[in-house]
Point group: C2
Chain length 143, copies 2
Amino acid sequence: MATATASERREEARAAYNAFMKGCPTNLLLSRISDKWVGLVLSALKERPQRYSDLGRRIAGVSQKMLTQTLRTLERDGLVTRTVTPSVPVRVDYALTPPGASLATLFSAVKEWAEEHIEEVVEARERYDTEAGAVAAAGAQSP
Amino acid sequence: MATATASERREEARAAYNAFMKGCPTNLLLSRISDKWVGLVLSALKERPQRYSDLGRRIAGVSQKMLTQTLRTLERDGLVTRTVTPSVPVRVDYALTPPGASLATLFSAVKEWAEEHIEEVVEARERYDTEAGAVAAAGAQSP
DNA sequence: CGGGATCCTTATGGATACTG
DNA sequence: CAGTATCCATAAGGATCCCG
């Protein structure tokens, strides 16, 4: 049918919105730092450049797929460097670039905020979960 | 005794690691701010307190499910307040709490970093994709 | 040693319909 | 108006095998 349905148009609008979001710098950054392993890799490399297997051992719990994928993405974005030494057993070293180090610093700021404020968040959460039954009445607390 | 296979050990490590991650303040915060809509809601409420439908219109592209879910989570964590006015058409207002406003400020810092550094990241990315040609392009595409 | 390629499981987000 | 409930598509993360 040639008739554009309402759902078709809505889909289009959403696609346009998503395209906009993808181009947004903040979202690019957020999707980067919210990756499960990026923070760990960054803080590991912040101390010293390391080999692939060192990182794998240091960040116990990561699969090689995710480690490789994370490192590839960071390399692609110019946040880490990848240096291959073609010795008999191949050796690959990773290190932070200046922007990578800068990002690691931003990460520290985030971490700091978290450690300062997480306490009240957790308390609020427990409070919320406790009063789970008596949510209904808006005027429950009559003066 | 090394009867424990490598995969068993990896599993154990990963379990312990995940448990640690859950309790980690930084990860709690990251999983909060990396939510797709939290940033939008926060910056919308940062300007002024708003009603549910205002937020829905303002953040065009969000589904009511996600908007509600996002607001619930933020309310639970004590980052926004939810005020119900039982008028004829029910009216619900949302506003930032002090910690919520603080988080919005942190968000601004993140945004600022993004806008300052995203340019070189994008350039590095294009350079990487050009060099790799058609080889690596299929492997590592991140949104 | 340092991955690439493939398959599978599970979060996450969205569409739709219904309610007080 | 402001949700709640249900179903469904997609993508993120992980296990496994294989290769230079």
